[in-house]
């Protein structure tokens, strides 16, 4: 098979995978080719607006598993292809030297069995690191069910490793991915977490020549293929950040690629739901919110307003806040104030009292924020004690889409 055809099949099969991120690793160049930048670099954007940063492909799409949500599953009759380790390493180098990519993101179907597949992935990484002297970014997915010794070996070669959890509940995983075992997935995550921990405690001198998953581990959940709610998803995500010390949790709105499966939801998931979950995830990681504050058990996020605005409307009695006095943590909870502008408010108010005008210059989105704060000088008509009106003012997108979408999701 021609390389171009393989590339089309194996890139096409990997494209629904969501993580574009190449950030978080700091692998300085020590004489080979490449380095990994801490902030991450996007190299191109596809016509659907997503960032292309890594050569994201499957090693093979030949699978012995039969997950109901997956296009590559054993029972599907689709064109199959596999790279060879050498071929894939050369392609990665050729793309990297031309600055098409920031590195390699390799995942794979389970050809033959998990261990065999893991060995191939390790081979690709070894060729890149040792023969080609590649010091750029490598992200690989560990194959569920593979021997933990192989997982550890891979960890010494890559920058980031991820192990997909797929669903927030064991029941869903069992129903929709019958060949995967929740216990094994959890075991691999724990093992990676503990080894990362061990190596980050090494003295700095030794840390430089032995790196174990320096950009940390991440995982992914499919949104809407099963019946787990946003509250299930966000509380397990919070757990992934806290217990597993995950760097990122990625969410992927389910796109039905197979014939209707009796257990799988047949309709596509609105992208907006995925978007809201990402916003909530962000609030948990950087804004000091708890999953339980954003959602009651069993609930889904409101599709019409973003989760921070939804929280603020519900807690309108805690507003307005005075930007010249409020603590940083409370500033962060004001819709329209981001982490950067909250920090600038704290820095700037030491130099003098902040007015409405100066807030806009600092980067506060006054259209939203003005309802929730007071500053020096005159203030717009307060609507803070009229939650319905406040809600309408913060709705993004039309009411019609809201109804359509919430109908899909059964949001009350």
């Amino acid at each position: 098979m021609e390389l171009e055809e393989k590339l089309r099949i194996l890139a096409g099969a990997a494209k629904y995978d969501v993580s574009c991120s190449s950030s978080g690793s700091n692998r300085p160049n020590t004489g080979g080719t490449g380095n990994a930048a801490v902030s991450g670099i996007c190299h191109a954007w596809t016509a659907d607006g997503r960032c292309v940063s890594l050569l994201k492909v499957l090693y093979t799409n030949l699978c012995s598993f039969d997950c109901s949500y997956c296009f590559c599953r054993r029972s599907n009759d689709v064109p199959r292809a596999s790279f060879s380790p050498d071929e894939l390493a050369r392609l990665t180098m050729a793309f990297y030297r031309r600055n098409y990519i920031e590195g390699l993101f390799l995942s794979s179907a389970v050809a033959v069995n998990p261990d065999r597949t893991m060995e191939r992935l390790i081979r690709v990484a070894e060729i890149l690191r040792f023969r080609e002297g590649f010091q750029g970014y490598i992200h690989m997915k560990a194959i569920p069910g593979a021997d933990l010794a192989l997982v550890t070996r891979l960890g010494f070669l890559v920058d980031r490793m991820s192990i997909n959890m797929e669903f927030s509940t064991h029941r869903q995983l069992h129903l929709l991915a019958p060949d995967k075992q929740a216990g094994q997935i959890r075991g691999a995550m724990l093992s990676v977490r503990d080894t990362i921990n061990e190596f980050s405690n090494l003295p700095a001198v030794r840390r430089n020549d032995t790196r174990f998953v320096p950009a940390g581990q991440s995982t992914q959940m499919i949104v809407g293929a099963g019946d787990d709610t946003d509250s299930d998803i966000l509380s397990s995500a919070q757990n992934m950040y806290r217990e597993m010390r995950m760097k990122r949790v990625f969410y992927s709105a389910y796109i039905p690629v197979n014939l209707p499966h009796p257990l799988a939801v047949a309709s596509p998931v609105p992208l907006r739901r995925e978007h809201r979950i990402y916003q909530a995830d962000w609030l948990i990681r950087f804004y000091g919110f708890e999953a339980g504050e954003l959602l009651t058990p069993g609930a889904n996020l409101d599709l019409a307003v973003d989760p921070k605005a939804a929280w603020a409307v519900q807690h309108h009695d805690q507003f307005p806040v005075n930007v010249n006095r409020a603590p940083y943590e409370m500033l962060l909870r004001v819709p329209g104030i981001g982490v950067k502008s909250a920090k600038r408010i704290v820095a700037s108010r030491r130099m003098g009292r902040l007015t409405y005008d100066s807030l806009a210059k600092i980067g506060v989105v006054m259209k939203r924020a003005s309802h929730f704060l007071t500053a020096e000088g005159t203030r717009a008509t307060p609507v803070i004690d009229q939650p319905e009106r406040l809600y309408r003012l913060l709705t993004d997108g039309t009411a019609q889409t809201h109804q359509q979408l919430s109908f899909f999701d059964g949001v009350p």
């Binding site: 890139a11 494209k15 191109a44 607006g49 793309f95 030297r97």
Partner: protein
């Protein structure tokens, strides 16, 4: 008073120094003539000692971050970049490192200049495409709005230290080179080199990859253009149809012009 300096960074710092010493109010700092003839003009002669005093002031009182901010603002294409930066540095004598939080139009303008140039630098670390010439040189053409070639080249010099690199800014006719660890800048006009057969094959593979990762159910060209503005497309392999490329000749990379001047970015 208007201060006119040669195009160099030291020339600019000299202007900052002299305008700070002067009793007359500062109208603007510029590297070009043609301002109002009714205002007084001082022709600044670059003085490394005076420039050094300003460097020292920034390093000791404002910190290394501020030096970087000033360097980036200097590269911005904003017509008022020099004036904003000079005024900010003057204000910094009173406020120290906290000058960046002062609510002043010059400071806000200075921050904008920095941000634009820094963002575009970051953008071009991703949106630069190299071609391998027959002699192994990696060659790229960029058309940035701001004068970001020096920091962009610095990024690639770190990334590909073993390669021979050439990055050409076709808007400013500037060529930056990395050769045997030395980074130089040349004022020249370059012709686009003809790609070799290997090069064409890799471009084709890249286009194939790019096409196959697009999710056609979710097209969002607006978002695409927001991140990858049209002015960058001309030099992006993936944004061009397979061109009817001329017959590949073997072409080596030779630079007959001046030896160039060494550049150091941070």
């Amino acid at each position: 008073m208007i201060y006119v300096f040669d195009e160099t960074f030291d020339g600019f710092l000299t202007a900052v120094f002299q305008s700070a010493q002067s009793k007359e109010p500062l109208d603007s700092v510029t590297d070009a003539f043609g301002q109002s003839i009714f205002l007084a003009v001082t022709q600044v002669i670059t003085d490394v000692f005076q420039a050094g005093r300003v460097r020292q002031f920034i390093d000791t009182h404002l910190g290394a971050d501020m030096m970087e901010t000033v360097r980036y603002a200097f590269l911005s294409a904003n017509p008022d970049r020099f004036t904003y930066t000079a005024r900010t540095l003057h204000l910094a004598r009173r406020h120290g490192a906290r000058v960046v939080d002062v609510m002043d139009d010059a400071v806000l303008g200075f921050r904008d200049c920095y941000r634009e140039a820094m963002r575009e630098t970051h953008r071009f670390t991703g949106l630069t495409r190299f071609s391998e010439l027959a002699d192994g040189t990696l060659y790229a053409v960029i058309a940035p709005k701001h004068n970001v070639l020096p920091p962009v080249l610095a990024h690639f010099a770190q990334r590909y230290p073993r390669e021979r690199l050439a990055v050409y800014d076709e808007n400013r006719h500037l060529l930056g080179m990395l050769d045997a660890g030395r980074v130089t800048l040349h004022k020249v006009t370059m012709e686009n080199p003809v790609p070799t057969q290997d090069e064409q094959a890799y471009r084709q593979l890249w286009r194939a990859f790019f096409e196959s990762v697009t999710i056609s159910e979710r097209l969002n060209p607006h978002l695409q253009r927001q991140h990858m503005p049209k002015y960058t497309w001309r030099n992006l392999v993936e944004m061009q149809q397979t061109p009817a490329e001329k017959s590949p000749e073997t072409q080596a990379f030779a630079l007959q012009e001046s030896p160039g001047r060494d550049i150091i970015w941070l």
